[in-house]
């Protein structure tokens, strides 16, 4: 059964279809997790599998599984993976402040510095502002930074040309850099 058929079955409420779908796209998920983990220095062992499993569990818990196609699903996954990283960064900051926050399951899998956590949180906020008035630019950044898709893959996912993706990325990168005060 193809991804699209499984998505349709999932949309009809068949949880077994979701399991089969996940198995089918697991390699893609691992690649996405690897790309996400590449954003952070590797002073310690990183575990992409744990990240993927966490993403999967969050997906399973989603109440609304309305995926129109493969691109729709990957769009959702990019949001899930962004949320995972941001949640981790928030916990990292809270722990630094001595808030007595319990470690996340990912704590043993994903490590980055306090400074990087702050930078990720700043990026998340700036990206949310950018998406508010240019949704496509925000999606391009999300798919590249949080999912790790290439410009060609992003073009396929958003049904735009690779050249347009390149232009979007250039503009988004400059705008976000300016917003984050690093220009």
């Amino acid at each position: 059964m193809e991804v699209t058929q499984l998505l349709h079955a999932v949309d009809q409420g068949r949880d077994d279809a979701f399991d089969r779908l996940f198995a089918l796209i697991y390699d893609d998920l691992r690649r996405m997790a690897n790309a996400q983990l590449r954003q952070f220095p590797a002073h310690e062992t990183l575990n992409a599998t744990a990240l993927v499993h966490e993403a999967y569990m969050k997906l399973v818990r989603q109440e609304h599984k309305h995926w129109e196609n493969r691109q729709h699903l990957f769009g959702l996954l990019s949001m899930v993976m962004r949320r995972l990283i941001i949640t981790y960064a928030e916990r990292k900051s809270a722990q630094k402040r001595g808030g007595g926050v319990k470690p996340l399951p990912l704590d043993e899998a994903l490590h980055f510095s306090e400074a990087q956590a702050q930078e990720v949180l700043a990026l998340d906020e700036a990206l949310t502002r950018l998406s508010a008035f240019d949704e496509r630019l925000g999606k391009v950044v999300e798919l590249h930074f949080f999912v790790g898709l290439t410009q060609k893959e992003i073009g396929e996912a958003l049904d735009i040309s690779e050249r347009t993706v390149k232009r979007d990325w250039k503009m988004a990168r400059a705008w976000l850099s300016k917003e984050m005060g690093t220009a």
Binding site: N34, A42, A48, M171, R173, A174, S177, A183
Partner: protein, 72 residues
């Protein structure tokens, strides 16, 4: 920022980002931009030229479960 101004800013940035400083100056003068838009555009161009953010990070390497190689 209105959609019209954002679209104009994008178009100008697209056109100017890869030009030389001198060529940019000529074009910006020709456009006769209002001060806020000019300020925004110059800020974007400066960010394009000089910024280094987490968006650009390419860590030297990583290990996946201690064994897998970096995919690219």
């Amino acid at each position: 920022m209105t959609t019209t101004r954002w679209n104009r800013l994008r178009a100008l940035f697209d056109e100017l980002a890869d030009l030389t400083i001198q060529a940019r100056s000529v074009r910006i003068a020709e456009e006769q931009l209002d001060a806020p838009l000019r300020h925004e555009l110059l800020g974007l161009l400066a960010a394009h030229d000089h910024s280094a953010t987490i968006l650009d990070q390419e860590p030297p390497g990583y290990r996946l479960n201690g064994s897998e190689a970096r995919p690219r």
